[in-house]
Amino acid sequence: MSKEENTANRPDNTAFTQQRLPAWQPMLSAGIVIPGFVIIGVAFIGIGVALFVTSQNIQVLEKDYTGIERNSSCFKCTNPRVKNCNCTINFSLDKLFEGPVFVYYGLSNYFQNYRKYGVSKDAVQLTGDLAYFTEPSTTCAPYQRDAKDKPIVPCGSIANSMFNDTFKLFQIVNSGNVEVPFDGKGIAWWTDYNIKYRNPTTNPLKNAFNDTVKPIFWPRPAYELDPTNSANNGFINQDFLVWMRRSALPNFRKLYRRITEGEYAKGLPAGDYALVIGYNYPVLAFEGRKKVVFSNVSWMGGKNQFLGIAYLVIGSLCVVMSIVMLIVYAKFKFPDEE
């Protein structure tokens, strides 16, 4: 056999083929892990304390207005036959509720994350495609067409079940009630408002909805959602968009308004307040609860004790573990280092 033939079969002698690539070979030894745990633990405890303190400073005011108790002012509205019911909840603040204040409505035992519910919309229709106005997607069933077989726009369960209670806040001062101005701009995601959802380009908007019907549950058609602001109608209505972003869990809050204007921009001063509620949304049938929440936020968002506490717990665990390991190693004379 000739020499060339011999070498032809010979495997390449490279570091890769011989599995001898230079490599970093770390080892989880006590020398690394114990200091590592201490560092992580201390850092986490630090973060935890910061989060916890921040969270403690956030003010939250929750008012359940479902009206279950007979003495509650909203009890009268729980009767489904009562239409356009208004009720008022009074509360007082004994110190300044720092601004900017955010007003949320909260629903409990409400499953926006039902699968069937979640798919019950027509994403293309909501981009303003007129073809889907007349032929909504079948996923919208049973809110695809009404009894007269007219297409529903916007179709589907999500749109149909849009939250329609209204809130007005009044500060009770000597001279009478002063309405606290609510700001409804920018409560939905910017991308939802500006990109994802689009109205048809038809002008006036109303014409696009010819031959369609409004969702069965809605009092007004989509193009009249906000009579005060024509740019806030159709599919790019802020409240509609907030509602269309399905919540992850059955107890949820959605942003209703901000208080950013006038003298209340700095917060709600101490005093008495009246919250006037346009009670339309039925929740008692499925044992749901409704509430309105006033909250201010910090850099880390709303009040959330969990994150701070979790950081503290994990951080302390790390420290405790490093002590335990130290004891174990001391007792077993650092077998690693032998």
Binding site: R20, L21, Y114, W189, R245, A248, A285, L307, M325
Partner: protein, 1062 residues
């Protein structure tokens, strides 16, 4: 009925499609390779005689009855009846090395009436009919008849195995032959000895399937639990159908059972990702790509052969790390199959042929008398007699031709090139040894043997009688008459059969030397002579003739005659021949022992030879108590008694000191002198042991006792084995109650059946034949490569694949368990937690490459340490990394991580906002948060397990995390025109814009990894395994190294001579 699936068919189908495609490509490629190999055999050209002309055709076209022309060194393509040969006497020489491992040349005979037909035309004119038996697998049996029509008169001749040339054997020392095909293709004896090739599955694969069943149960369980809970929960009509989520009329009308069933199926679809479909493809890829590292291994490249290791089946890489029993062939596997004369000892003086080491000084040569030292006149006579005896007492034939092979033999002397052929390679070695000591056997001419003595004079001896060798007597003799007229009987044989017959000579000195040599693993023979007076010769002649002419009991009477003749011998000396071991064979066997493997030698060779090799290869050591279970013994004692005796011997030392009964680890007895047993058993006894006896119970008992004995022996030698018996042994051990993993290694076609039977079959790329290599799972050039194959590659692949399997299950639990938990919070409505893209890509792109690369690159211990310390192999024995406790640990870890991820996100999302602008996140953000934590956690888990970080690992691990982030940014950053939903639009970016999301991702990843880190550190400190102890970086570069090298040197056979003929 349309089943409404929670995820789109593409989501579930794409990974499956991907898996199937990759598997199909891999299988197709391997099939194509097999096809190519088949073709090369089927299309190999052969020569056929047709109408008096030689025609070339493909071997697959041979039909029964075709007359073939075979030339020297060609391999027979089918079973043939020899018609005539180029030699005048109608004989031909054949080596059946690739069939039964015997490399000696065997003589086959042509049919007497056809041997004169030696040209194509003549052969074509033969008219004959051959009748023969149905094809049967016994290589040594053949019965047939040929009717030759000569002048229309049929002449019937018997055909026996001496006429039958077997497929796979090779024609030697004969220019050409004509032969007729009688068995072809699958009916040839070689093919009938093939074990059918069955799909081998590794132990890892079996564990994998067991785990899969568990996961399938978990899947069904989860789906079932959720379905039941859903209907329990929905019993309240308000929950069933709140006003905001009305069902369509069609749904309302559906029967509850159908609804429940559809729900069950929907859950199955939702949770199906827990079954790691992509694990199978990853395992396949890992095996396929991983096998390249075996092929590429430069340490397993043999310069002499120009070959590197070959992987025929990549399915068994990890099985190499699990071997408990090694069955090895002897000839050509442990040994080079190349005898060499080492020394002879005459009256206690040791003679060593010169230039044995090509100028190198032999180890221990200082103790030896060289030939020039004059032992005195009396000794001189003995010495010459001894040399003559060896030159005369043999059945060697001389071939006086210059062929390529001749170089090997002819180079030693300047004389005309000639070389020796014999059925016993030992004889050739002896005669050659004599040649180097100055006495050359020239030829047998007119029943005179000619010797060229040291003075270059030709001495002639008349060969009177040959008392042929047989394995019972274990000796042979010749009676010769010198030119001076004296008659001598020269006898040579095993020491045990010579010493009792010796009456004078320096018995003690010779005995010492013989024992010394035997311990060194050399094959020793003793030589003695007896001078016969003419009267004694007459008597002898009569005795022999009578016996030969006897019609009844000829064999017995001949044996008696031999026994009478070979008496009153004078001891001349002894010889030592080495069946050279392959390089590092002893070291390899020793390493295998240290690694806890039991090594069995299965050979067709005779017992003495095999035993000598076993000593040389350190299979049996000085301290080993060798037990024999052979025909010789069972003749004296019934099999039953012999077995019970042995089992008592074997079990006693274990039972008495410990009082615990069986030693749990018999191999640990290596250091202890007395507990180290070796067993020798021969084929006949073995079949008696395995034979189902009259009473069914006793046969089972024998088998059990035999296994019990074997279990306590660190080494077993099985000699005189037929190819199928080798497979039987392997099967027996495989089926024993521990179900150990077996490995068979061999080089010849006779090893094929055992190679196919064993869990892992390894073929040595022998000089003769490639059947073994072709039928094996792995082929290596030399026996020594087995060490790296098992200790390094086997170990690595086992570690790698077990991590791969466990990790895959783990990461799928992490993946799907949150989805399961989410059902409790979405009204059991099968709402997917993750987006479609994430569901699809999780297994095929976000988390697949890091583990694949881990399973290709991981080296928890360095190659060199693994090689140096074979005991590390025990750390992974018995499939220890895939035991149930470990599997449960991984699964629980997965469940824990899933809980941390899900509930972490749950509490975080609990009624609060994440952002300083007060906006709320929806369900897809929730899923994305969980998914992000998931991808990072499972990847970091792998990071924690990786011990060997090459740039590739860095690239792939960090790369796949970066890919996930980039993909998510892209996926959410663009309105994808081909999608009819845009639910992920901007979700990932929104999440990243929030501080608490970052903080919680960091928190949850840390919390997920914490217990595993803790477990690792604590276990390492409190209960470190050997592996973990080794892993600790040492302050000095390995204090264990020098000690080891020392041991390595001791392990070498002192007179192991490295091959000279390169």
């Amino acid at each position: 009925m349309i089943i409404d699936t929670p995820t789109s068919p593409i989501t579930s189908g794409l990974p499956l499609f991907f898996v199937i495609t990759v598997t199909a490509i891999k299988q197709g490629y391997e099939d194509w390779l097999r096809h190519k190999a088949d073709n090369s055999v089927n299309q190999c050209p052969v020569h056929e005689v047709q109408h008096g002309k030689v025609v070339r055709k493909q071997s697959r076209k041979i039909r029964v009855g075709d007359v073939m022309l075979i030339k020297e060194n060609e391999t027979f393509p089918c079973d043939l009846i020899l018609l005539s040969s180029s030699r005048d006497d109608g004989t031909c020489f054949v080596t059946t090395a690739s069939l039964d491992g015997e490399s000696s040349h065997k003589t086959y005979y042509a049919v007497q009436d056809t041997k004169a037909y030696t040209t194509e035309e003549e052969v074509d004119s033969i008219k004959a009919v051959i009748e023969c038996e149905q094809p049967q697998p016994d290589l040594y049996k053949f019965v047939g008849r040929v009717n030759i029509y000569m002048d229309n008169e049929p002449v019937a001749r018997p055909l026996g195995s001496e006429n039958l040339l077997l497929r796979g054997a090779t024609l030697k020392n004969t220019a050409y032959i004509y032969a007729v095909a009688i068995y072809t293709g699958m009916e040839t004896k070689m093919a009938l000895n093939y074990q059918t090739k069955t799909q081998k599955r590794s132990a890892v694969e079996k564990s994998m399937n067991a785990y899969l069943v568990v996961y399938l149960c978990i899947l069904i369980g989860k789906a079932f639990i959720n379905t039941v809970l859903k209907y329990v929960w929905q019993a309240d009509p308000n929950q069933d159908e709140p006003w905001y989520n009305n069902r369509t009329d069609a749904e309302k009308e559906r029967h509850i059972v159908i609804r429940a069933f559809t729900d069950f199926l929907a859950y199955m679809v939702l949770f199906n990702y827990i079954i790691p479909v992509s694990m199978y493809v990853t395992v396949e890829m890992q095996k396929f790509l991983g096998s390249y590292f075996i092929m590429w291994d430069d340490d397993m490249y043999d310069k002499e052969l120009g070959e590197s290791a070959v992987v025929n089946t990549s399915d068994l890489n990890e099985e190499l790390g699990q071997v408990e029993y090694v069955f090895t062939d002897k000839t050509g596997t442990l040994t080079e199959n190349n005898m060499e004369f080492i020394e002879c000892c005459v009256d206690g003086h040791v003679y060593v042929p010169q230039a044995i080491c090509n100028g190198q000084v032999m180890p221990g040569s200082d103790t030896m008398d060289m030939i020039d030292s004059s032992p005195g006149p009396r000794a001189r006579v003995t010495e010459e007699l001894f040399f003559r005896a060896l030159c005369l007492c043999h059945t060697v034939q001389v071939k006086e031709e210059e062929t390529v092979d001749g170089i090997k033999h002819g180079l030693h002397s300047g004389r005309p090139s000639s070389f020796y052929i014999s059925s016993s390679p030992d004889e050739v070695a002896l005669v050659e040894g004599m040649k180097r000591l100055g006495y050359t056997y020239l030829r047998l001419k007119d029943s005179h043997m000619e010797i060229l003595n040291r003075e270059d004079q030709v001495e002639r001896f008349e060969l009177l009688e040959v008392l042929t060798f047989d394995s019972v007597r274990r000796r042979m003799s010749v009676i010769v008459r010198a030119s001076t007229g004296e008659v001598y009987l020269f006898c040579k044989g095993a020491d045990s059969s010579i010493f009792p017959r010796v009456v004078s000579g320096k018995v003690e000195e010779v005995k010492d030397r013989v024992e010394h040599n035997a311990v060194e693993g050399l094959r020793t023979l003793c030589v003695a002579y007896r001078a016969l007076t003419p009267e004694q010769y007459e008597e002898t002649y009569k005795l022999l003739n009578e016996a030969r002419l006897a019609l009844h009991d000829r064999d017995r009477r001949l044996a008696e005659a031999y026994d009478q003749i070979e008496t009153q011998l004078v001891l001349l000396g002894a010889t030592a021949v080495e069946d050279r071991l392959q390089e590092e064979a002893a070291d390899t066997v020793e390493s295998l022992h240290q690694a806890g493997m039991k090594v069995w030698v299965l050979t067709g060779d005779k017992m003495e030879t095999a035993a000598a090799t076993c000593y040389a290869s350190k299979l049996f050591r000085r301290g080993t108590r060798v037990l024999e279970l052979t025909t010789k013994r069972t003749e004296e004692q019934s099999l039953h008694d012999a077995l019970f005796d042995l089992s008592r011997t074997v079990l006693r030392p274990h039972r008495d000191p410990s009082g615990l009964g069986l030693d749990p680890d018999p191999v640990s007895g290596l250091s202890g002198e007395c507990s180290d047993f070796g067993l020798i058993i021969d084929g006949a006894t073995l079949s008696a042991v395995l034979q189902p006896g009259q009473e069914a119970s006793s046969a089972g008992d024998y088998k059990e006792i035999f296994l019990e004995i074997c279990r306590n022996c660190s080494a077993v030698l099985c000699c005189r084995m037929a190819p199928l018996q080798k497979a039987q042994i392997v099967k027996l051990i495989k089926a024993s109650k521990e179900h150990p993993i077996t490995l068979a290694i061999g080089d010849g076609a006779n090893d094929v059946s055992m190679i196919l039977e064993a869990h892992v079959g390894i073929g040595i790329m022998g000089k003769e034949g490639r059947q073994a290599a072709r039928n094996s799972d792995y082929a290596i050039p030399k026996f020594k490569h087995l060490k790296k194959m098992l200790l390094v590659h086997g170990h690595y692949y086992y570690i790698r694949i077990s991590e791969l399997v466990q990790y895959f299950f783990y990461k799928n639990v992490c993946f799907i368990f949150p989805q399961f938990l989410y059902q409790f919070f979405c009204g059991f409505s099968q709402q997917p937690l993750y987006d479609t893209a994430y569901l699809t890509l999780y297994n095929i792109s976000f988390t697949s490459l890091p583990i694949l690369l881990y399973s290709l690159m991981e080296q928890h211990i360095n190659i060199d340490i693994l090689r140096k310390d074979p005991t590390l192999y025990r750390d992974i024995s018995k499939n220890c990394l895939l035991r149930w406790p470990i599997f449960i640990y991984w699964t629980l870890l997965g469940v824990y991580d899933a809980m941390v991820m899900f509930f972490g996100a749950y509490f975080l999302f609990d009624n609060t906002t994440f952002t300083s602008n007060g906006q709320m996140f929806g369900n897809w953000t929730f899923g994305t948060l969980v998914f992000t934590v998931l991808v990072f956690t499972v990847t970091f888990k792998l990071v924690l397990d990786t011990h060997y970080w090459t740039w590739i690992n860095h690239f792939v691990i960090w790369g796949s995390l970066i890919f996930f982030v980039v993909f998510s940014l892209l996926w959410g950053g663009i309105i994808w025109p081909f999608l009819n939903y845009q639910r992920m639009y901007y979700v990932f970016m929104q999440m990243l814009s929030s501080g608490p999301a970052w903080l919680s991702i960091i928190l949850l990843i840390t919390a997920g990894l914490l217990p595993d880190v803790l477990k690792k550190v604590i276990c390492r400190a409190l209960w470190p395994t050997t592996t973990e102890r080794i892993q600790v970086p040492r302050p000095q570069p390995g204090p264990a190294t020098p000690a080891f090298i020392q041991r390595h040197h001791q392990g070498c056979v002192p007179n192991l001579v490295v091959s000279l003929y390169v």
